[in-house]
């Protein structure tokens, strides 16, 4: 069964519908790229999947809850310890005095429960993930003094501390130069090859086409396309969008 399944989902905020009729499945190991214009509801969808927002209607199922697990009007979504999340940067983080190690370790917090401090295993997980993302040498550096690419690697390492199962990334390449963007996408591709399911919002159609296995295109308050990358590139929506964004079709 799919790792994540959205059925007839309607999302929005303050009573306004942004997208309705969202139905799609994500299987373990998939790389789903969500594309769409600004304001089409991509971030709202991610926030809904993360349970930061309640869906207006419809259900979200996961492996652990099962399709019969929740009979209420709202599916219970992913278990928090199955999710890694790379959010867009906030204003607070721009002048936050925190070392890279402190930030990465905070990803382990959901394992702690009520225990006030990290144990050895959690500290090791943090070190491993810093190693994996090539930021071990930055461990003591201040987060706010890093370059954009290094900051994203730090947040990615934190997300990996929270889980290896499913990563949700909200425009990870925003504000990065092409070289760093390419490196970041390669890194995310590698994580996917290691078995982590990826759900990513991206404006970069080239990278989407290169790495994604599935594409979800939303716009005009509904789903314009959902399917595999190959199908997308053959579809009319996909061709128009890919040409418009200068990607290869």
């Amino acid at each position: 069964m799919p790792q994540l399944s959205c059925q007839n989902l309607t999302i929005g905020y303050e009573g306004k519908v942004v997208v309705s009729g969202l139905s799609f499945d994500v299987n373990a190991g998939d790389y789903l790229c969500i594309v769409g214009e600004n304001g089409s509801g991509k971030s709202t969808l991610i926030r809904t999947i993360l349970k930061l927002k309640a869906p207006m209607s419809g259900k979200i199922f996961t492996e652990s809850t099962g399709s019969t697990g929740n009979t209420g009007s709202i599916g219970s979504g992913l278990m928090p310890n199955e999710i890694g999340y790379l959010p867009q940067q906030t204003v607070v983080q721009k002048d936050f005095p925190a070392s890279v190690r402190e930030v990465v370790r905070s990803g382990c917090l959901n394992r702690c429960g009520l225990r006030p401090f990290y144990n050895k295993a959690e500290k090791r997980i943090a070190e491993e993930n810093m190693e994996k993302l090539g930021i071990s040498s930055l461990a003591k550096r201040c987060y706010r003094e890093l370059s954009g690419g290094q900051q994203q690697r730090t947040l990615l390492a934190r997300a990996l501390c929270a889980t290896r199962k499913l990563l949700l990334l909200d425009e990870p390449a925003a504000g990065l130069d092409p070289k760093v963007t390419a490196e970041l996408y390669t890194l995310i591709g590698d994580l996917n090859n290691d078995g982590t399911t990826i759900i990513i919002i991206s404006h970069d159609i080239c990278a989407s086409v290169k790495y994604a296995s599935h594409i979800l295109h939303i716009g005009n308050r509904s789903v314009l396309f959902f399917g595999t990358k190959e199908e997308y590139l053959k579809s009319e929506t996909g061709r128009i969008y890919a040409n418009m964004s200068g990607g290869k079709s």
């Binding site: 607070v92 402190e102 905070s106 006030p116 550096r141």
Partner: protein, 282 residues
């Protein structure tokens, strides 16, 4: 200078001076703990708003002739802290306006009540004392010192237990919530701690100057140190040193306690800014 040392050591024999220094240091310790979080979460205003609430309630307590207003001021301030935090979460601009509204209304009502109902002969003196800190720090009883010590210990304990959670919720609330950390609960705990600290600090520096006690040590520490742990530890040290120094100076020089402490804090900020500038340059 020797004369001053003599005078100081003579003063230090008095229990009321000892009490003042103990409570002052404890309050400064607690206030600085949360400074970093408050500054970064843009909650400095909540501290200011709450201190005005505490002033309003203190005025009502004075009008009711309550000898010990503490048990009225603390619960009301905690309730307001929770309410303010709730509105702050729902709508950002509205939350800001709500803080300003509550802050000025309680200030006005407090002043009005004090003026109309107070039986004291020296109303403006009373009000000045509540706003800018009074000599009450020098007239503490043993029981009040104990109460302050117990509350401080609680604040420090809660902070230690939830240190990593507070860090995570401050750094990235969305990530914390998404990965299963109960950010709302920790925000609530923060609100309660802030309220307790503000009520405690009112005795020391008065309602108008509390924000200085909360934010200056954190801002000073942030000039020099680059990680959360170091900034927290450093701001505690700065705050304690400044408070002790301020109290001693005010006793020796006969200046108002609250404003002296704040001036020492400002001096600390200037020194740390310079230090930060130099370390970045060389």
């Amino acid at each position: 200078m020797t004369w001053n040392w003599d005078k100081l050591s003579e003063y230090l024999q008095f229990p009321f001076v000892q009490y003042a220094i103990i409570t002052g240091v404890l309050i400064a310790f607690c206030a600085s703990l949360l400074g970093v979080t408050l500054v970064l979460k843009r909650f400095s205003f909540i501290g200011d708003g709450l201190s005005h609430v505490a002033f309003g309630v203190a005025a009502i307590a004075a009008a009711m002739n309550l000898s010990n207003n503490f048990f009225l001021v603390l619960p009301v301030t905690i309730i307001c802290a929770i309410l303010l935090l709730r509105t702050g979460q729902n709508a950002k601009i509205k939350g800001d306006a709500a803080i300003a509204m509550i802050s000025v209304s309680t200030l006005a009502i407090g002043y009005l009540i004090m003026n109309v109902f107070s039986k004291s002969a020296n109303i403006s003196g009373d009000i000045c004392a509540t706003l800018f800190g009074s000599t009450s720090i020098l007239t503490l009883t043993r029981a009040e010192v104990w109460l302050c010590a117990v509350l401080s210990a609680l604040v420090i304990l809660v902070f230690l237990i939830f240190y990593h959670k507070i860090f995570s919720v401050t750094f990235d609330e969305d990530f914390s919530t998404a990965t299963g950390v109960k950010a709302k609960t920790y925000n609530l705990i923060l609100a309660v701690i802030i309220a307790v600290i503000i009520v405690l600090a009112m005795n020391l520096v008065g309602a108008l100057l509390i924000s200085a006690l909360v934010i200056f040590p954190a801002l000073s520490a942030m000039r020099v140190f680059k990680n959360f742990k170091a900034v927290t530890i450093c701001s505690v040290i700065i705050s304690v040193v400044c408070a002790a120094l301020g109290i001693i100076i005010s006793i020796v020089a006969g200046t108002p306690v609250g404003s002296t402490i704040v001036v020492v804090d400002i001096a600390g900020f200037v020194i740390f800014s310079a230090a930060g500038f130099i370390t970045r340059r060389f």
